[in-house]
Amino acid sequence: MNDIVIQAHELTKKFGDFTAVDHISFEVHKAEIFGFLGANGAGKTTAMRMLCGLSHPTSGSGSVAGFDIAKDPEKVKASIGYMSQKFSLYGDLKVWENIRLFGGIYGMKTKAIASKTDVILNHLGLMSEKNTLVRDLPLGWKQKLAFSVSIFHSPQIVFLDEPTGGVDPAARRQFWEMIYEAVDQGITVFVTTHYMDEAEYCDRVSIMVDGRIEGLNTPAQLKQETTSTSMDEVFQKFARKATRNQD
């Protein structure tokens, strides 16, 4: 299959005696929304860091956007976008300055940045806030802006690390609409979340327990497999298997 954009094969990360990620294997297809679920401490973040080229795998292999994550982390980084819940842009920079900064970091041309900035701000309805410091924006807007910035350089894949933490349901709904738009443009979305209603929006979901992937399927089939009525129930059934301390 040619449309595989993320591939992990027996990917493992050990910190001393502790195996944070334990031989995980999966594939993600182009323009798919792939939900990456797991309790805190299950190894989600470590796995994601390896896929983003931030952390070197102890063993196993993986490729993202056609580049080997261990051998070509720089090329991987240039092909992806990344957004985390903790960070929503620089508060002391203006809206357009944040966009220009990240456009510049991803090597975009000044002219392209300027024209695309206006397109995006118009689309978000933030044109009037172009010169506002980001710290003065409401959290929901910041996160929408942060997402737009993370796909500003048209990456093949965007990694979202709990992107909707702390925002209200309405803002989360809007955020997911933006994710669907990105998918329509052919961008693959790799997302971790704690909200099980969001898990329902994903095309396929993997559930990590103690460093291993215990479940991997479409939400509908996962529910069927575990004879559950909701993703929340599915998650509870998997998470119960955990022996590792949650921290």
């Binding site: 920079l93 510049g104 970091i105 990694f159």
Partner: protein, 369 residues
């Protein structure tokens, strides 16, 4: 390169949009120079004194006149009873009392010896020592000028001709300016750089930057650039203020001073980077650079107290403080005006420190990734 410039620009925005940071960065050198130059001084001026003259003759009058004519002392009271001495001292009116014995002139002329008691408030030992030195030298001078004419004794005399090299007026600022330079450059480069790097870690933005194609080493260099530039600005401010406001001359080569300062700035920046690699929070970065760098720099670098008179252990500690070597070089270059051959040792130590810090901080930086 364009990525890099975009990044440097961002760092300048971070600094200049934070009014507190700007204030610290730009006002601190000025405040420090003014404080150290004027308020904190080891010189004694206008010390309040009282005199208990039991003799009231020509010689005592002449000595008193000389004391009064001196800018160091202000005569506030003539007392007539010994009990008043302690009273004046206790209520803080005077910090020194001179007691002339009765028949001072007679004794000097006939016995060749007269007693002058100097009572000093030694709560501040440095000040007490300085004041007694002043008095002693005034008396000695008087003695040499007048006594030999009147007495036939003292055929042999050793007259020390003291010449204060490099700082003939013994101005305190000569000693402090190099110290303040070391302190401020260390503070701005090490503390501010480490805080600014750790802030990105704390906020999570470092993760986003590391996930971008920009190379980690460029992120760090870009963070250091603004502080490097600001430090050079501060260096210029300090030198200008000390030359034109404190009247400290630059006796040696300005080029050398600037070159050595750049070297020291680099050392301090690397220290900041090292700190940022070791800690996770801004508070920790501030504590480590405050306690671990500033305090030793102030106390052990020779800025305030001479390193030579410290116990061996402290001397050992002081020799690993970069500011100690920098301050020594600057004192030599600025005040003594020596040639660069005389600073080879200190310069070598600083360069060695630079190389060691470079290796260590790059190693810890890679490990973190």
């Amino acid at each position: 390169m364009k990525q890099f410039l975009a990044f440097v620009k961002k760092e300048f925005f971070h600094i200049f949009r934070d009014k507190r940071t700007v204030l610290i960065l730009l006002a601190m050198p000025v405040v420090q120079i003014i404080l150290f130059g004027f308020a904190i001084t080891t010189e004694v001026k206008n010390a309040q004194i009282a005199i208990y003259d039991q003799s009231k003759d020509v010689v005592t009058q002449q000595i008193i006149q000389r004391l009064q004519a001196n800018e160091y002392f202000t005569l506030v009271e003539n007392i007539s009873e010994p009990s008043q001495i302690e009273k004046l001292m206790k209520n803080g009116r005077v910090s020194m009392v001179l007691v002339f014995e009765p028949n001072f002139q007679e004794n000097i002329e006939h016995l060749g010896k007269a007693d002058l008691q100097v009572v000093v408030d030694a709560t501040d030992p440095n000040q007490a020592k300085t004041m007694t030195n002043y008095v002693t030298s005034i008396i000695m001078q008087y003695q040499q000028e007048f006594i030999p004419l009147k007495s036939e004794v003292a055929p042999m005399q050793i007259v020390p001709q003291v010449r204060m090299l490099y700082n003939p007026q013994m101005v305190g600022a000569y000693n402090f300016v190099p110290g303040v330079m070391g302190l401020i450059l260390m503070l701005i480069c090490a503390m501010m750089t480490s805080i600014s790097i750790v802030r990105e870690k704390e906020k999570g933005s470092m993760e986003v930057l590391l996930a971008s194609p920009i190379r980690p080493i460029f992120i760090i260099i870009a963070k250091a650039v603004p502080y490097f530039v600001i430090s050079i600005g501060n260096l210029a401010t300090i030198l200008t203020l000390s030359v034109f406001v404190l009247n400290v001359p630059i006796a040696g080569s300005l080029t050398m001073i600037v070159a050595v300062s750049l070297l020291f700035i680099l050392v301090a920046l690397l220290l900041g980077l090292l700190i940022s690699n070791l800690v996770k929070s801004q508070v920790a970065a501030m504590l480590i650079s405050g306690m671990g760098l500033m305090t030793p720099t102030m106390i052990l670098s020779g800025m305030m107290f001479p390193t030579e008179s410290m116990p061996v252990i402290l001397q050992g500690i002081s020799s690993i403080i970069p500011a100690r070597w920098y301050i020594t070089i600057i004192k030599k270059l600025m005040i003594q005006g020596v040639d660069s051959v005389y600073i080879v040792t200190e310069l070598g130590v600083l360069i060695l420190m630079l190389l060691v810090l470079l290796a260590v901080s790059l190693k810890t930086f890679k490990k973190r990734l």
